[in-house]
């Protein structure tokens, strides 16, 4: 009844406002909206000014036709062959690169994540490591690959080490969120039972983190796999290198078979990763 009374008093006060007064009180939102639209228009105009459509290249239509005919008539020998230059082998190599890159990245990310979590580390250290993580994320993976090639030489190994480093950025960012969302009340109850710090970590912290860590890792595997297909362009192994070579030398039927291989690979992995992650989320 208390609340009812309060509402009545409030109504009595407010009822002095007439409908017309209320109408005139309308917040001037349209000014904000026009502002946003104008800003967007200016941005688009400014960026459009420099992107010139210079028309097709002399061979543009030929390339387009070639790619379409390549996709419709892929090189079946290449698609089903078993040698080291054929599609199945390259796909397996791409998967191998992504698997290793993700696993190493996920392991390397753990110390980074704990060092950058604000609820565990003192703030200055946390911010320092956040800056490092951000830097790792900003450098494009292709640039990382180009630098690592100097160390490992061209080949699949370069792809692995590149992906391990690149994955740290995103994975540790998501780990940090999981760590900062930890439910600390569980630790209190473990304390009350007289657990040692190690026992608290084993039974209070790890069970909370494992599911989200695994989910993050699988998600990153999905991304790494797509990334691994492009790393080949700079010579870091996988299917990308062969695809680009064929594109540049215009062997369309080979291009077609590589594109088919790529599509099947990514579709399967994406489907599997979504299934596994939704299963993890349900427990």
């Amino acid at each position: 009844m208390e609340k009812n009374k309060f509402e009545k008093v409030e109504q009595a006060v407010e009822s002095k406002l007439t409908v017309l007064e209320m109408y005139q009180r309308a917040p001037k939102r349209w000014l904000l909206y026009t502002g946003i639209v104008l800003l967007l228009a200016v941005l688009v105009g400014w960026s459009g000014s420099d992107v010139n459509f210079t028309g097709l290249t002399a061979t543009g239509t030929e390339v387009a036709k070639g790619i379409i005919s390549g996709i419709t008539h892929p090189d079946m020998g290449l698609m089903l062959g078993t040698s080291a230059t054929d599609v199945p082998y390259l796909i397996l190599q791409t998967i191998a690169i992504a698997v290793l890159g993700t696993v190493f990245g996920a392991i390397l990310a753990i110390p980074f994540a704990f060092l950058a979590a604000e609820n565990i580390m003192p703030k200055p250290i946390a911010y320092l490591f956040r800056a490092v993580i951000l830097m790792i994320r900003t450098i494009p993976s292709l640039v990382w690959a180009l630098m690592w090639i100097r160390v490992t030489g061209p080949g699949a190994a370069c792809g692995v080490i590149t992906q391990s480093v690149c994955s740290i950025g995103m994975i540790s960012k998501m780990y940090i969120t999981a760590i900062e969302d930890l439910d600390t009340r569980i630790l209190e109850s473990l304390d009350a039972m007289g657990c040692t710090p190690f026992q608290k970590i084993r039974y209070g912290v790890i069970p909370q983190l494992v599911a989200s860590f695994i989910s993050t890792t699988i998600y990153r595997f999905d991304i790494n796999l797509k990334d691994a297909t492009t790393l080949g362009i700079v010579g870091a192994g996988g299917i990308g290198a062969s695809l680009v070579q064929c594109l540049n030398s215009r062997r369309w039927s080979m291009v077609g078979s590589f594109i088919w291989g790529l599509m099947v690979l990514v579709l399967i992995i994406e489907y599997a990763s979504t299934r596994i992650r939704s299963k993890l989320a349900r427990g």
Binding site: S47, L56, T59, G60, I95, A157, T230, V244, L247, L267
Partner: protein, 284 residues
């Protein structure tokens, strides 16, 4: 309502049929079923995959430790950026940003109608939904760099090819994220609009769009963030922007110059990310 409802028969997974669940019986005769843990099986599989992958990629830790000084050398130079190179970074950087803005706007604009057509709670025609989703899935399988390369081959080298590649990539991602969000909106207001005499378009526009719009804008901003980073490397295949400069510097082993490029990119990405994060927080 349906009184002839029958519960679906749950099929036992293959794993549980091979490794029969253990039945634990307490002293008082009550019993509970414990399913066999799948952990050992998963671990064995994982280790096997790792060993296979190590052989496949010929990855050796020794090569890294042996050549580590080389990398350290590169890194030291990266952290001593060549400031005199800075003026030459501005133009390609602006190009990169322009490519990302235009590409994001075009891609996001195209994504909205397709996302609506792929949402099962709004469109009830199964054929339309699966067709749209299939196209989106195909687009997402192609790496941005490959799209950019093809565009560059067709439309000549330069920013146009880059913009197009970004637009296509953005279209695929935003449309997918958007239809997943649309499927979680509250359809109650839509029903209310139909009950008060609105046609499908009017009901959709006044009941669903206000719910979709903030999510859509937030996805667009997120994609813009990604695009700035992604478009920085498109130049590698000749699609304009910073990538050309990066490729050039690495080719000449001018790591001090590369340091300047990366540092500028870092600052710009940081600023964009902060702005976008601020805006996205305001939207939700």
């Amino acid at each position: 309502m349906n009184n002839e409802y029958k519960p679906k028969e749950v099929k036992e997974p293959l794993f549980d049929r091979i490794f029969k669940p253990q039945v634990i019986t307490l002293e008082n005769g009550h019993s509970t079923i414990r399913k066999r843990s799948r952990l050992p099986l998963i671990l064995i599989l994982l280790v096997a995959v790792l060993i296979w992958a190590l052989q496949m990629t010929e990855f050796r830790f020794s090569t890294i430790t042996r050549n580590f000084p080389k990398l350290l050398d590169i890194f030291l130079k990266l952290f001593q950026p060549d400031t005199s190179f800075f003026p030459k970074v501005i133009k390609p950087l602006v190009d990169t940003i322009k490519m990302s803005i235009l590409g994001t706007v075009i891609g996001c604009a195209l994504a909205l109608p397709v996302a609506v057509l792929s949402s099962s709670n709004i469109v009830h025609n199964k054929a339309v939904i699966s067709f749209c989703r299939f196209i989106l899935a195909l687009i997402r399988t192609l790496p941005t760099l490959v799209i950019a390369l093809v565009c560059a081959l067709i439309f000549s080298l330069g920013t146009f090819a880059g913009t197009l590649a970004i637009a296509i990539f953005t279209f695929g991602i935003v449309a997918k994220m958007l239809y997943e969000s649309i499927e979680t909106i509250d359809m109650g207001p839509f029903e209310a609009m139909e009950a008060l005499g609105a046609n499908k378009f009017q009901a959709f526009w006044s009941a669903c769009v206000p719910q979709i719009l903030p999510v859509y804008l937030s996805h667009c901003l997120y994609c813009f963030e990604m695009n700035v980073r992604a478009s920085a490397i498109l130049g590698y295949v000749g699609a304009g922007g910073l990538g050309i400069t990066i490729n050039e510097r690495i080719g000449w082993r001018d790591y001090n110059g590369l340091g300047t490029v990366l540092l500028t990119l870092f600052v710009v990405v940081l600023m964009i990310e902060f702005t976008s994060e601020y805006l996205r927080k305001k939207l939700s």
